[in-house]
Symmetry: C2
Subunit: 344 residues, 2 copies
DNA sequence: TTGTAAGCGTTATCAG
DNA sequence: CTGATAACGCTTACAA
C-alpha cells in the first residue's frame, strides 16, 4: 500500500550513465555541469517524479531552508482561541517565507515550555520567529539564554534599549499618540485608557506614553485615574470598562490598547445604556478584520501585518546568513471610522 | 558567532562509556536499556543540552513526525488576504498536531502549482492536509494522481461519492437546510440564495440542495431566479446582491453561502436603503469571528473549526499509520442572532 | 566538466 | 541488556 519506491539520485545516475554527484549537481542547476548532461538528468528525474530527500540534504548540508514560527501565549487563554491579529500575522509570515523559498514550521508553545533548544538545536529550522503576547520579563529571561547560545531568532514585540536579540514591532508610542491626538482634536478632554501598565506588557505601556504625550502637547491633563488595567481579551476590556463606570469618574472617550478590548468596552457601555459614539468615543488598536464591521465601525490604530510579516522573515533570514540585522520599528496609521464623535 | 558546537550521540557515548546506539536507545526510553545506563546517559545529555538531530533521525527512520498543511486558493484572490474561516481552521489544526506530538509545516499553494508530490516525496512530511476553496474539478484531477501514488492525505471539502482520497467536511446540505428552514419558520416565502452553483464548488451546490429541501418540506416553491452566483468574497456577495436587486424580483430574505458573502450583501442592501432585518433577513454560513459583531449580528450556520481540525489531523495520522480511515461529515449548527426578522 | 571517496548523525540489524 | 557494523540519500572536497 505504501510502497511508492521513491527513486534516488543513484537510480538516476544509473539511468543517465553518469556519477551520482553529477546528478545532484545537475538538479541544483550547478554551472559546473554541461548543458547536455543537465538536460538529460533533469528529463529522467522528471519522468521518475524524483524529489530530493530533504532530510538527507539537510543532514549533509546542515541547513534546513525552514523557519520555525513559535506562537506563545499566557497559560490563561482558552484552548482554541487565537488573537485574530496574530492569525493575520501568521498568514503574512507564511507568504513571506514562501517568497524566499523557505518552509514554515508552526508551533504553539506555552511560555513555560522548553523551546530554548527544541528547534534550532534539533536542526528543525535555521531560524525562529517568536510571536505572542506574554509576560515580557519571563520572556526576556528565556531568550537571553537563546541569545547566548547564538541562535538565530527575531521577536515580534516592543523595541526597547538593551534587549537581548532582535525585535521588530510597531511604533506603539506613535500609535498611542495618534489615537489620543485624534480624540483631542475632536474636542475630548477626559479620555480614558484601557490597557495593562505593568512591566509585563511594555507594548501597552508605550501606547500609554504616546497617549500622555498627546495630552501634554495639547496642554491637557492626562488623568491617571482614567487609566485602567486590561489585558488583550474582549472579556478583560468588558471588565475594565465596568470598573471604569463604577468609579463614577467622568469621561467622554476611551483609548483601548487593543481592538478586542474595544469590543468588550463597547459591550459594557451599551449594557449601561451609553451610546457609541454619541455618548462615548472609542479608539482601538490593531485593526483586526472585525474592526471595520463593528457597529459603529471602529476607529483604530492599524498595525500593518503585511509589512510586519515580511520584515520578520527578512530579518531572521539575514541572521541565518550571518549578516547584521537591526531591530526595526514599523509605523502605525490611524483608521478613521465611526466610533468617535466630535465634542466641538 | 555561529559555533554552537552541537554535541552528538557519539560525544555522549564517549562520556558515558557506552556504545553510541545505546545512547540513542536510552534517550528514546527503549526498554532494552538498563535503568542505570539510561539515567546516566540522560543526565549527560541534559547537561550538554543535547538534542537529537531530526534530519539524521528522519533520514534513517524514514518518518518525519511532521504533517504538511497546504492552503490553496484560486489565483484571483488578493495577495495578503486569507479567508478568516481558514485561519481559524489553521489554528485548530496547529493545536491538534501539537497534541499528537507532530510538527506542522504550513504552505500556500496556487492550484496551478506542482504540489503533487512535493511534500511527501521529498520526505518533508508523513502526510498532507489540504485546505482551501478552489475549482473542485481541477483539484480532483490533481489528487487522483496523488492517490495513485499512495500518498497520505486528507482534504477539507465536500464529501461526495467516488472521490479519490479521503475527505472531511461539514454537512453542507444539512447546513443549507437549517438556514432556509429557519427563515421559512419565521414566515419568509421568497428567499434568495447567494452562492456559485457550478460544479466547481460542490459545497455551495450542497448548501443550495438543503435550501431546496427545506422549501420542499414546507411546500413552498424555491424560485430559481432568486439563486445568484457568488464566490467566497465580500466583493462577490456585494455584486451578486446588486444583481439581485437589479432583477426587480421580490424577496424578503437571503441565504448566503458564506459569511463574507453575507457581509457584502448587507453592504449592498444598505446602500439601496434597505434595512436588515426589518426589510430583508440574512443568514450566513461559517460563523467566522466577525459574524457576531456585525450590525446586526449575523444569524449563521456554524462550522465547528475545532472539531474539524481535530478530525483532519486524526484522520491523516490514521493514514500515516496505515490504518483505515473513512471520510467524515461533521454536523453544522444554527447560530440565531439578529439578522433575521419575522414575517408573521 | 566529471568521477571518487568520505561523511553528515542517526536508527536498524544482528550477534554476543 | 549491549556492542559492532551497516545503512539512510545526499553534498563536499579533491582528484582526474
Amino acid at each position: 500500500m505504501k510502497d511508492r519506491n521513491k527513486p534516488t539520485s543513484v537510480d538516476i545516475a544509473h539511468l543517465a550513465g553518469v556519477s551520482q554527484p553529477t546528478v545532484s549537481r545537475a538538479l541544483r542547476e550547478s554551472p559546473l555541469v554541461s548543458k547536455e548532461t543537465r538536460l538529460r538528468v533533469q528529463k529522467i528525474a522528471r519522468e521518475l517524479n524524483y524529489k530530493v530527500d530533504v532530510n538527507a540534504r539537510n543532514l549533509r548540508s546542515q541547513r534546513t531552508k525552514t523557519i520555525a514560527l513559535l506562537l506563545f501565549e499566557d497559560k490563561g487563554e482558552g484552548e482554541c482561541f487565537i488573537n485574530p491579529f496574530f492569525l493575520s500575522m501568521m498568514g503574512s509570515i507564511t507568504r513571506a517565507c514562501a517568497n524566499h523559498g523557505y518552509d514554515l514550521l508552526v508551533s504553539f508553545q506555552q511560555l513555560s515550555d522548553d523551546w530554548n533548544a527544541e528547534y534550532e538545536d534539533a536542526n528543525k529550522a535555521d531560524g525562529i520567529i517568536f510571536l505572542g503576547y506574554g509576560d515580557y520579563t519571563t520572556y526576556i529571561e528565556r531568550i537571553s539564554e537563546l541569545d547566548r547560545q547564538g541562535a538565530h531568532f527575531v521577536t515580534w514585540g516592543p523595541v526597547i534599549e538593551d534587549q537581548p536579540g532582535l525585535f521588530i514591532g510597531c511604533n506603539n508610542e506613535q500609535g498611542g499618540h495618534l489615537a489620543a491626538s485624534h480624540l483631542i482634536k475632536l474636542g475630548h478632554k477626559r479620555i480614558a485608557f484601557l490597557g495593562d501598565q505593568s512591566s509585563d506588557h511594555p507594548e501597552f505601556k508605550e501606547r500609554y506614553q504616546g497617549y500622555q504625550r498627546a495630552h501634554h502637547e495639547a496642554n491637557i491633563e492626562a488623568i491617571p485615574e482614567l487609566c485602567i488595567d486590561a489585558h488583550f481579551s474582549e472579556e478583560s476590556g468588558y471588565l475594565a470598562t465596568q470598573k471604569l463606570l463604577a468609579s463614577k469618574r467622568e469621561f467622554t472617550a476611551i483609548t483601548c490598547a487593543s481592538d478586542l478590548i474595544a469590543i468588550g468596552a463597547i459591550k459594557a457601555l451599551r449594557e449601561t445604556g451609553l451610546r457609541v459614539p454619541s455618548d462615548i468615543a472609542i479608539v482601538g488598536f490593531d485593526d483586526i478584520p472585525t474592526a471595520e464591521h463593528l457597529a459603529p465601525s471602529l476607529t483604530t490604530i492599524r498595525q500593518d501585518t503585511f509589512a510586519a510579516g515580511q520584515a520578520l522573515v527578512d530579518s531572521v533570514l539575514m541572521l541565518v546568513e550571518e549578516q547584521d540585522a537591526k531591530s526595526l520599528l514599523l509605523d502605525t496609521s490611524l483608521m478613521v471610522r465611526d466610533s468617535c464623535g466630535s465634542k466641538l
